[in-house]
């Protein structure tokens, strides 16, 4: 069991880069960013970028499935709302880096531990936005749906959820962008990702800028992608604002 806790600064990505003459040459120039080094070594960031995408993908998809399911449940069973809000709130508040190590005795080091902690972080954001979206559906719209003879199930699927889509997607965007940023800490759980190269050469500015830059671009790309999906999924809103 103590081996499960074998995680520390010195052990993470120690041999990530081996030949460091290029780095020393760059640092010797005193420049903030060395384009030559970046052009030659950009391949080193491919695997961490893929791992980062996997971490974010698993965390957001799992977070969405769980939080969305809980929200639908709480929509039907109102007494569940206070405990679910408080429970997801605690998971959101516990810093991911602490969460990684609290999980270690149970799940050990690695991708799973990092993914679980990141998933736990997304729950509150997605749950709360889904509940707000459902609560914002005007009562008169529900009444009309009932008057047209729709069952509660049909009202949920055909009226309430479509109208709540903007809030739900807004929650997904916040959760995804935050998770891309937070996943840089997965290196402390041995979960890989863009934190790996950052931590391996934490004093090398060009390295930090490349890895950090990829993370920021990834977050922005996800944000635009989700916004585009929302536009496509809610055509009536485009018509209304046009």
């Amino acid at each position: 069991m103590p081996d499960a806790l074998a995680l520390a600064a010195g052990q993470v990505g120690e041999d990530f880069f081996t030949d460091r003459s290029g780095e020393r040459a760059c640092e010797a120039t005193g420049k903030l960013f060395c384009f030559d080094w970046a052009a030659e070594n950009i391949d080193r960031y491919r695997t961490p970028t893929v791992e980062h995408l996997e971490l974010v993908g698993v965390a957001v998809v799992a977070g969405f499935l769980i939080a969305f399911g809980l929200a639908l449940l709480a929509h039907r069973l109102r007494w569940l709302q206070p405990p679910l809000l408080a429970g997801t709130g605690v998971l959101y508040t516990i810093p991911s880096i602490a969460f990684f190590f609290l999980l270690l005795p149970f799940t050990g080091r690695g991708f799973d531990t990092a993914a679980i902690a990141l998933t736990a972080y997304t729950l509150q954001i997605i749950y709360r936005n889904t509940m707000v979206g459902l609560a914002n559906v005007p009562e008169s719209v529900r009444d009309s749906a009932r008057g047209m003879g729709l069952s509660p199930r049909q009202i949920l699927i055909r009226v309430e959820l479509p109208l709540a889509t903007p809030e739900i997607v807004a929650g997904l965007r916040i959760a995804t962008v935050s998770t891309v940023a937070l996943a840089t800490l997965a290196v402390f759980a041995g979960g890989g990702g863009l934190g790996d190269p950052i931590y391996a050469q934490i004093n090398f500015k060009t390295n930090i800028i490349i890895a950090g830059g990829i993370a920021i671009l990834m977050a922005l790309a996800f944000d635009f992608l989700l916004l585009a999906i929302q536009r496509i999924a809610t055509p009536w809103r485009r018509a209304a604002t046009a």
Partner: protein, 240 residues
């Protein structure tokens, strides 16, 4: 049945971590150094609290005036909301590492780096909170002869407290969490237990994680309490 599950649910390592928090012990990793114990735990907790509160104060000093002003005037929505979105994309590890490598280590630099995380949510929520106030209430206040600053401080701000405070709470959660990796930039917080396993051992790592979680939850509950005290009685009745 339950007896068989217990060791699995509560591995022995948690007991070691609690011992580490309560009693100074000889490090079995570095050999001979005394680590852990209440004194060191309190010192590192206070350090983390200090850098967190300093960064929060700096964030509020920068973000509140700008957010409240823009919200009151109703201008700069793209800036105020866009900044909040962009702020979430800042990778915490890269931020702290960049600060340490490019600018330097120390309390001031870490405070500034953490404030970079705190400013966007506070500014955005201040703007949104003020904008959400019912325009009819604002017009009524003007009609009663209130000056612009009275409108802002006596009508708009009290009604914006819940949104304002949710920005402050979001900022605090991110700042206190990121303060955990402040030892990478030369400020010894509870994260030192976590990052320097070669000094503190497995018990220290787990103790650090427990303490960081406890500190974050305590701060969040305190702010929730402050928010309740700050919300005017009329609004609380309306919400109930």
């Amino acid at each position: 049945m339950i007896g068989a599950l217990l060791p699995h649910l509560f591995p022995a390592s948690f007991g070691g971590a609690i011992d580490f928090i309560l009693e100074p012990q000889t490090s079995n990793v570095t050999g001979g150094t005394t680590v852990g114990g209440a004194d060191q735990v309190i010192e590192l907790t206070l350090n983390q609290l200090e850098v967190t509160l300093l960064a929060l104060a700096l964030s509020m000093a920068v973000a509140l005036p700008i957010g409240l002003y823009l919200g009151h005037r109703g201008v700069g929505e793209t800036l105020a909301v866009g900044l909040g979105n962009a702020g979430r994309a800042i990778p915490e590890l890269a931020l702290i590492a960049f600060m340490a490598a490019a600018i330097g280590v120390g309390l001031l630099n870490v405070t500034i780096a953490l404030a970079v995380l705190g400013i966007p949510p506070i500014l955005t929520n201040a703007f949104v909170g003020i904008r959400q106030v019912d325009r009819a209430s604002v017009e009524a206040a003007r009609g009663m002869g209130m000056t612009e600053s009275e409108v802002l401080f006596r009508v708009e701000m009290p009604m914006a407290v819940p949104t304002l405070m949710s920005g402050v709470r979001g900022a605090t959660i991110n700042i206190v969490a990121t303060a955990t990796i402040a030892p990478l930039a030369g400020v010894l917080t509870l994260g030192d237990f976590i990052i320097n396993r070669n000094v503190y051992g497995d018990d220290g790592v787990l103790a650090g994680a427990m303490l960081v979680a406890l500190l974050a939850v305590t701060l969040e509950l305190s702010l929730a309490g402050i928010q309740r005290l700050m919300t005017s009685r009329g609004l609380r009745l309306g919400a109930a």
